[in-house]
Amino acid sequence: MRLFVNVTLGGIAEGLIFASVALGLVLIFRATNIINFAQGAMAMLTTFIAFSVLGRGVGYWPAFVVALACGLLLGGAVQLVLVRPVENKPPLNAVIVTFGLLILLEGIAGAIWGNTNRSFPAPFSERGLVVGKTSIAFSHFDVFIVVAVLVLAGLIGALFRFSTLGLRMRAAAFAPEAARLLGIRVGRLLTLGWALAAVAGALAGVLVAPTSVFSPSYMDLILVYAFTAAVLGGLDSPVGALVGGLVTGLVLAYVGGYLGGALEPIGALVLLIVVLMIRPEGLFARPTARRV
C-alpha cells in the first residue's frame, strides 16, 4: 500500500512534466500539423543556458526566468528561420527538419558543455514530505512541479479562452485562410504559438533537470513520453495533453515501481501501441478528428 501511494505520487509529478512538454507539442501540432521533435532539445538548451547563468553566481530564480525567456525567443526564432520554409511542404520535411534540429542542438550543447552528467539544482528540498509520522515520496520540489505546471497551463488556457489574442490564435490554428480573411496575421500568431510552446518546454526542462542525470540528451526520453501523452490526449487538445501526461506518468510509474525502471520506455512503447490500436483518435480529440 505504501509503495502504491508513493508510486502514484511520483507518477503525478512525473506526469505533469510530461504534460508540460506535451502541451507544447499540442499547441504546435494543432496550429501547424507538425510534431516538433526538437521540443525536448530546445528545452535542454534553455536549461543549459540557465545552468551557465547559475554558474555566474546569480540565484535560482533569475536563472529560472532566463530559461523561460530563452525558450520564448528560441521558439519564435526556430519557427521563423527553420519551420516557416517547410510549412507548405509535405509534412515529412518538417519532421526531418525538427528531428535534425534535435540532433544539432544536442551536438552543440555537447560541444559547449560536454557530454558528461552534470547536476542541476532544485529550488526546494527534494526530501520527501512527512505526513503524520511517515515520510512519503513527494517533496517540496514535487509540490513546486505540480504548482508550476498547473499555473503555466492555466495561464495558457486563460489566454486562449478569454483574450482576443487567444481567440485569434485559435482561429489561426483551426482555419488559417478564414482567419486571414478576418484580418488576422496568421504568420505572426504561428510564431507566437511556437514561442509559447517552447516556454512550456523550457519549464519542463528546468523541472526535470534536478531529478535526472543532466546531460545534452536528458530530454530525449521525456520527449517521447510526452509524445505518447499527446497522442493519448488526441494530439490537438490542450486539456487532453494534461490528462494524457498524467495517465502516461502514472502508467510509467507503476511499470517502473513494480516491474523495474528499465522497463519504463518499453512500457511507454506498449502504451502507445495499445492507444493507437484501441482508440487511435485519442481520448480528447475534437469530433472532426482525423481518422483515415
Binding site: F37, V95, L104, V224, V231, A262, E264, P265
Partner: protein
C-alpha cells in the same frame, strides 16, 4: 517532355527493368571487385561498411522517399538484425546464409508490430513511435542482460573464408554481394505494381484509395520491407564489427542513416550509396582531418559528427530537399536542355507554361519528379 535524340541500338539500356537492374548490379560488382583488389585491408573494411549502410539507407529511402513515411529509428532495426544474428550464432549456429535470412525476417516481424498500429492514422505517428522504439530498445538489453550479453554484448566470429582468401576481403565481398542483390530486388520492387502503389500513397492517400490501392496495407508493406533491409544490414554489421552490444547502436546511428538518406537523395537507389559514403567517412576520416586542420577542442571533435549530421538534415531539407542524386539529375536534365531544343509538343498547357514562366517550370518539375523515379 523533351525528346532525346535516339541512341543507336547498342548504346541503349535494356528495356526490361530486371535486365537493366542486373546490368547495373554487374557493373557495380565489377567496379567494387576491382576496388577491393587495388586497396588495402582497412579500405576493404570501409567498403564493406559502405555496402552495409547502403542497404540500410536504401530501405529507409524506399519508406520515406517513395512511400512518404518516415522512421526515426532505422538504427534500432539494424540492432534487431545484429542481435538476431549474434543470438543465433550463440544458441543455434547454422549456415551463414540462413542466419542472415533469419536476421532479416526477425527484423521484418518487429517492423510489422510497430507499423500496424502507427499506420492506422495519418501524420507523424510512425515518426514518434519509431523514435520511442529506438530509445526504448537499449533498455531491453539492460533488463535482460543475461540473454543479451550485458554491456560486453555478444561476440560474433568473422565468417571463415574458403581457401587462401583474406578473411576481411571475403567478408567485404559478402557484404557487397548482399548489397547488390538488395539493390536489384528493391529496384524491381519499385518498378513493379507495388512501387506504383507506394508512390500513389505518398502523393495522395485519398486519391490512391479511390484508385483501389489499399492504403494501410501498402504502408505496412513499405515499412516491413524497410525494416527487413535494416535487419540484413544489422546482420552484416555484426559480422564486421565482431561484437554486438548496445553501445554499437546509439540513437545517433538512426540519425546518421536518416541524414545519409536525405543527403544522398531520398527515394533513389543511387542516392543510398552517396549517403552511405558520407555515413562511413564523415564520422571517422573526414571529421578527424577537419579537427586537426581547424584545431577543434576535444568537446567539439567529440560532437562534430552529430553536429554535422544535424546540420545536414536541416540544411538539405531547407535548401535542396532532393539531395545529391537530385542535383545530378538536375544537372543531367539541364545539360540535355542546353544541347537539344525542345520540340513543339502540341500540348496547350505545356506551351502556356513555357511562355509564362520560362525559368521556373523546368526546375520545379524536375525537382518534383526526382523522388518518384527511384528505380533507376
Amino acid at each position: 517532355m523533351i525528346k532525346l535524340p535516339p541512341l543507336p541500338a547498342w548504346a541503349r539500356l535494356p528495356r526490361q527493368p530486371l535486365l537493366r537492374h542486373l546490368l547495373f548490379a554487374v557493373v557495380g560488382g565489377v567496379f567494387f571487385y576491382l576496388l577491393t583488389q587495388s586497396l588495402s585491408d582497412f579500405n576493404d573494411f570501409e567498403i564493406g561498411e559502405l555496402a552495409v549502410y547502403a542497404i540500410a539507407i536504401a530501405g529507409l529511402s524506399l519508406l520515406t522517399g517513395v512511400n512518404g513515411q518516415i522512421s526515426l529509428g532505422q538504427g534500432a532495426f539494424v540492432a534487431v538484425g545484429a542481435y538476431t544474428l549474434a543470438e543465433l550464432q550463440v544458441h543455434q549456429p547454422m549456415n551463414l546464409v540462413l542466419e542472415l535470412l533469419a536476421a532479416t525476417a526477425m527484423t521484418a516481424v518487429v517492423g510489422l508490430v510497430i507499423a500496424v498500429p502507427a499506420t492506422r492514422l495519418h501524420g507523424p505517428y510512425l515518426a514518434g513511435m519509431t523514435l520511442l522504439f529506438a530509445l526504448a530498445l537499449p533498455f531491453l538489453s539492460d533488463k535482460y542482460s543475461n540473454f543479451f550479453g550485458g554491456d560486453q554484448g555478444l561476440t560474433v566470429p568473422p565468417p571463415s573464408a574458403p581457401g587462401s582468401i583474406d578473411p576481411q576481403k571475403w567478408l567485404t565481398w559478402i557484404q557487397l554481394f548482399c548489397a547488390l542483390v538488395v539493390m536489384v530486388l528493391l529496384a524491381n520492387l519499385l518498378s513493379s505494381r507495388f512501387g506504383r502503389s507506394f508512390r500513389a500513397v505518398r502523393d495522395d492517400e485519398v486519391a490512391a484509395s479511390l484508385a483501389g490501392v489499399h492504403v494501410a496495407r501498402t504502408k505496412v508493406i513499405a515499412f516491413v520491407v524497410s525494416s527487413a533491409c535494416a535487419g540484413l544490414a544489422g546482420g552484416l554489421l555484426a559480422l564486421s564489427s565482431g561484437v554486438v552490444n548496445t553501445g554499437e547502436f546509439p540513437l545517433s546511428l538512426s540519425i546518421f542513416i536518416l541524414a545519409g538518406m536525405v543527403l544522398g537523395g531520398s527515394g533513389t537507389i543511387f542516392g543510398a550509396w552517396w549517403g552511405a559514403v558520407v555515413v562511413v567517412y564523415l564520422p571517422s576520416q573526414w571529421s578527424q582531418s577537419l579537427a586537426s586542420t581547424f584545431h577543434f577542442n576535444h568537446l567539439l571533435s567529440a560532437n562534430f559528427a552529430v553536429i554535422a549530421f544535424g546540420a545536414i538534415l536541416v540544411v538539405v531539407m531547407l535548401v535542396a530537399p532532393s539531395g545529391i542524386q537530385g542535383g545530378f539529375r538536375w544537372l543531367g536534365q539541364h545539360l540535355v536542355t542546353l544541347s537539344t531544343r525542345p520540340e513543339p509538343t502540341g500540348n496547350i498547357s505545356v506551351a502556356l507554361q513555357h511562355t509564362t514562366e520560362p525559368d521556373q517550370t523546368g526546375d520545379s518539375s524536375a525537382a518534383e519528379q526526382l523522388p518518384s523515379s527511384g528505380g533507376r
